[in-house]
Amino acid sequence: MNDGANVTTIEGLGTPDKLHAIQQAFVKHDGYQCGYCTPGQICSAVAVLDEIQQGKPSHVTADLTAKPLLSVDEIRERMSGNICRCGAYSNIIDAITEVAGGKV
C-alpha cells in the first residue's frame, strides 16, 4: 500500500545533540507531560508548518483561494488529529507558534 514511500519518524527529525527546532520548542514550552503522544505531535507539527507553507487549505481557512495564514486557529485545526490525554495542548500550540514565527 505504501510501496516506494519515504517514512520520516521522530528519530529522523533530530538527535539529542542536535534537536529539530520543533523539538527544542517543545522542551522550552513544556509541550508534553507523559510524553506518549509527543513523537506524533512533533512529526505532525513539522508537517503542519510545511503544509501551510505549501498553501494547502484547512477547515478554518477563510478564503479558499488565498494562501492560508500562519495563525493559532490554523495550527489548532491542523493538529486536531493528534490527541494528548494529558492536555498539554496550550503549550504545544505555544511551541509550534514560536517556530512558525507568529505571536502567541
Binding site: M1, E51, K56, P57, S58, H59, T65, E77, S80, G81
Partner: protein, 318 residues
C-alpha cells in the same frame, strides 16, 4: 484480525476481474476505514486487492467544462487543487471538514464514497446488527441514537452515511464512473449510487460484484456561493450531527443536500423550489416523513437552523 492474502494489480479491469473471481475479496486503497474494520473483525475479507498502483490519482479537465477526479486521488490533494477550491468550493469545504489531516492524506475519493457507517452498534460485534449480520436485528432501534438517521430509515436500520465529501458531490450532481469485471464501463449518478437501508441494510450501494470505481465526474461549474456547514459535538475531527451543503445563486435559488440525517447523502430537488420562501419551507419538505427518535429529534430543528444560517450568509454575500 483474520489472516488474508494480498495482491497488487496494474489495470482497473485486472482489479475488477480479480475481485470477481476471488471469493470474499475486497479492494484496498487508503485503508483508513477497511483496516480498522478488519482489526475489529467487522470486515473479514479473505483476500485484499491493492489498487494503489492504478495511477487513478489525477484530475482531468473535460471538454464540457467539468472535471474527472481519479478514484485514488487523496482527500487532501483533491481539497488542495485550485480548480476545486475555486469552482467547487462546496467540495473542498466538505473534504476539509472531514476526519483529520492524517486520514485525509491517505483516504481516497472512491474509498470515501464507500466508507461504512459509524453506528456504534455496527462497531460492537457483541450486539445484533442487520448491516453486519443480516437478519440479526437492529440494536440501535430502542438504543442510544443521538447520531442516527431521522429520514429514509427503515425498521431494519437507522444508521447514517458518515461522509462529508459525498454530500457535496450530491449537491454538485456528480457521477461515479466504474469498470466492471468484463471490462465494460458504467456511469452512475451520485443520487442513485447509495441505497436506502430498506430490508437489506448490508447492501449500501449499487456496485455489482467486482465492479471498481475509477473516477468521479464533476459537471461544469454552477457558479453561485458555495457552503458546507457541519454541526458536530467537537469543532474538529468529529462526524456530523447535521451538515448542510448548499450552492446559492445571487437570485436566491439554489441546491441543498444534507449529511448526518440519512443512510445516504440526502437531497430532495423539489424542496429547493421553496428556497425563496425561506429555510423552514425548504427544511419541512426535505425532512417530510422524518421518523426521528427521542434522542435525535433535535436534528429536525437543527437542519432548519443550519440552513437558515447558510441562507442568511448567502444573502449577505450576494
Amino acid at each position: 484480525m483474520k489472516a488474508f492474502t494480498y495482491q497488487r494489480v496494474s489495470t482497473p479491469a485486472e482489479a475488477a476481474q480479480a475481485a470477481y473471481r476471488t471469493p470474499n475479496a475486497r479492494f484496498i486503497a487508503g485503508g483508513t476505514n477497511l483496516l480498522d474494520l478488519m482489526k475489529l473483525e467487522i470486515e473479514t475479507p479473505a483476500h485484499l486487492i491493492d489498487v494503489n498502483g492504478l495511477k487513478l490519482d489525477q484530475i482531468e479537465p473535460l471538454p464540457d467544462g467539468g472535471l474527472r477526479v481519479g478514484a485514488l486521488m487523496r482527500n487532501t490533494d483533491l481539497a488542495a487543487d485550485m480548480r476545486i477550491r475555486r469552482d467547487y468550493a462546496v467540495l473542498a469545504r466538505a473534504l476539509l471538514a472531514g476526519a483529520s489531516t492524517q486520514l485525509r492524506n491517505r483516504a481516497t475519493t472512491a474509498g470515501n464514497l464507500l466508507q461504512r457507517t459509524r453506528c456504534v452498534y455496527f462497531y460492537d460485534t457483541n450486539m445484533p446488527c442487520n448491516k453486519r449480520k443480516p437478519g440479526s436485528g437492529c440494536s440501535a432501534i430502542g438504543g442510544f441514537t443521538r447520531q442516527h438517521a431521522v429520514v429514509g430509515s427503515s425498521d431494519a436500520c437507522i444508521a447514517t452515511h458518515p461522509s462529508d465529501m459525498a454530500v457535496a458531490m450530491r449537491v454538485l450532481d456528480a457521477e461515479v464512473e466504474t469498470v466492471k469485471p468484463d471490462g465494460a464501463g458504467r456511469v452512475i449518478p451520485i443520487a442513485d449510487f447509495h441505497r436506502l437501508p430498506g430490508s437489506t441494510p448490508h447492501i449500501e450501494h449499487v456496485l455489482e460484484p467486482g465492479e471498481l470505481i475509477v473516477s468521479v465526474k464533476l459537471p461544469k461549474p454552477t457558479g453561485g456561493q458555495h457552503f458546507y456547514r457541519k454541526v458536530r459535538d467537537r469543532a474538529s475531527y468529529a462526524f456530523a450531527l447535521v451538515s448542510v451543503a448548499a450552492i446559492i445563486q445571487p437570485n436566491g435559488t439554489g441546491r441543498v443536500a444534507l449529511g448526518g440525517v440519512a443512510h445516504k447523502p440526502w437531497r430532495v430537488e423539489a424542496a429547493e423550489q421553496q428556497m425563496p420562501q425561506g429555510a423552514k419551507a425548504v427544511a419541512d419538505q426535505l425532512l417530510a416523513g422524518a421518523r426521528p427518535t427521542h434522542d435525535n429529534e433535535f436534528k429536525i430543528p437543527l437542519v432548519q437552523r443550519t440552513l437558515a444560517s447558510v441562507m442568511a450568509e448567502a444573502k449577505k454575500g450576494a
